[in-house]
Chain length 369, copies 2
């Protein structure tokens, strides 16, 4: 007998050791190896040792592709968001990943640049990868045939942040948009304000809003988030018999620079607002840019309530009173809901997280005239 030949620890470059390599090295059959490696089925101590040892020596790494193929499940879920760099979505993502991981799922993230095309393609890709389910925060389109298609194929789905029309029975995980702005406007009213401007992406006349106010909860939840938020504002107004003044609705695009211009234009106007509410992170930031540019002093000249607690809100003077949504928790809830939906087919229902008002110093108390 010649001396022992030590096989290289390394598998040949580019192709990791397979279970067959391990079996051979251990001198047992493929299935014996499989049994000990997946810890399922019986094996003698001797076999077990030999296999484990060979696996370690060879740096065996199970091929999840093959496993998934057999099992019909990849233990991975997808999440599709408009923009990973948006602080709201990156927080959602962070919660989503953490929750998924602790449930034994991996996450494949797709960012769509808020583009319907990329969104559709991303969803298809995820489906082709045979993820076990997908959470999607839809781009700002009115409907997504792809989502509907996937749903009808029976792929577990969860919607984040907004429901889409015509999308039957896909659970939604979202904050209650209307309730959130209602909170903000309510706070302003409580402090004595009644001429409250609102910076929003939505556009609506007083009569349109009035109609919307009569919608039931479900119908409301079908509106775009921005519109839902505007409805919440109108609700608070109505609760205090304050007329909805459409000249106080500042409709601005979802873009820092452009929105800042729009808000500045409004402020230069002969408006009568004593308070103003920015209804999302971008718009709140843009509003503040406009205040700074025009030398508007908060809260002396104008009271302000922001949306989505952001870093800068603590840095400016005074710190900004804001409606905060728990983005991370929302992500966690989305993952949990999706995984639940994957586990059993039992109907899983919508999850609404409520926003809370974080009071700081940007509202001035006024005595009602």
């Amino acid at each position: 007998m010649t001396g022992i030949t030590v096989r290289s620890t390394m598998s040949r470059k580019g192709s990791p050791a397979t279970i067959i390599d391990v079996a051979k090295a251990a001198g047992v059959s493929k299935s014996a190896a499989a049994r000990v490696l997946s810890n399922n089925g019986s094996a003698s101590a001797r076999t077990r040792m030999a296999v484990l040892d060979a696996a370690a020596r060879l740096g065996y790494r199970p091929n999840q592709l093959a496993k998934a193929m057999k099992a019909g499940s990849t233990q991975s879920i997808g999440i599709v968001v408009p923009d990973v760099a948006n602080p709201f979505f990156s927080s959602v993502l962070s919660g989503f990943s953490a929750a998924a991981r602790s449930a034994g799922f991996e996450v494949i993230v797709m960012s769509t640049d808020n583009t319907a095309d990329i969104e559709a393609r991303s969803l298809e890709l995820l489906a082709e990868k045979r993820v076990d389910g997908i959470a999607v925060a839809p781009a700002l389109t009115d409907a997504s045939p792809t989502i509907e298609q996937l749903r009808s194929e029976g792929l577990p789905l969860v919607l984040i942040d907004r429901r889409l029309p015509n999308l039957g029975a896909i659970p939604l995980v979202s904050m209650d948009h209307a309730a959130a702005t209602e909170l903000a406007t309510q706070a302003l009213i409580t402090s004595g304000h009644s001429d409250i401007a609102i910076v929003t992406e939505a556009r609506a006349t007083a009569s349109e809003i009035t109609e919307l106010l009569d919608l039931d909860d479900h119908a409301t939840s079908l509106l775009r988030p921005s519109m839902q938020r505007l409805v919440g504002h109108a609700r608070a107004l109505r609760a205090h018999d304050i007329a909805f003044d459409e000249s106080l609705v500042v409709t601005a695009p979802y873009d820092r620079e452009q929105a800042a211009v729009v808000v500045a234009d409004f402020l230069r106007t002969d408006h009568h607002a004593t308070a103003i509410h920015g209804t999302n992170a971008i718009l709140s930031y843009a509003s503040y840019r406009a205040f700074k540019q025009l030398g508007v002093v908060i809260p002396d000249d104008l009271s302000f309530v922001g949306f989505d607690d952001q870093d800068w809100m603590l840095l400016v003077h005074p710190a900004v009173t804001v409606v905060g949504q728990a983005a991370r928790e929302l992500g966690e809830a989305a993952a949990q809901t999706l995984i639940q939906r994957i586990a059993q087919d039992t109907d899983v229902h919508d999850v609404f997280l409520s926003a809370r008002l974080i009071e700081r110093g940007s509202i001035r108390e006024v005595n009602p005239a």
Copy 2:
């Protein structure tokens, strides 16, 4: 003959149509179907039609798992970051995803909470999923056996933001940390400052820094980013014959709240600094919190240079002069480098992006005494 029976458009729930289903429905063989579906090989117009039609009717969706198994390539790459919710990394991510997508790769994102354990597990998972390559922004540990292991297995790898000791020949995509802070300190010196405090995660005595200054570029790049940045500061000082004063080094943890406390403590001290530089996003933010809390007026009481251009820097008064790193571009470069590395084995080299100084209003010109 009976009438035509229209098969349900839908495949049975949970199991999408396979290529065999399509072949059957089209009345051809599996391989014929495969040929037209992958557009590779010859087929008569008649066959082509029949197959395409059947595929559409059945909602056929290729199983990428099976494809990858055959091909030995998944066309997907992984990226591992300490925290997706950190603005720097989410921007990196955004660039990375975009670049990967346009090169035909999908991205699997893993967020590790800056934990060595999770990082190791994430890397293994990615490898088991047989991604074609991985980009990793390492957690703050000193070494990663897992990364080294994967490298030795021949898996294409790219490091983001920092190199790890003992990690042979893995290309690095990063900003030049030392050059970045050098820029900041240089700007302060040019404006007449010489007593410049620096807020950093690193800790070093004057003599330690002196030693570090003699390191060559490669050795320097092996240091932690925070230490590299401190070295850059020291370099600028030395270039102007200003002594490195270790009492001006404010060592703070990577945590908004705690760092703010540390900076405030320093400011209350009887220091002689006329300027201060925060060396990363968190620390810059924390510094500003401390300024606000203590009523320090920028730049009258103290000149300030921040790091990583952030939203709030434009909102405070005066706007903050900052060293900006192009996070998105960095992500793009990382993806490109990785993909290049996957394509050919040709040596791919390090990529350094340079930071630039964005001059705004937080530096006061002083006349050197």
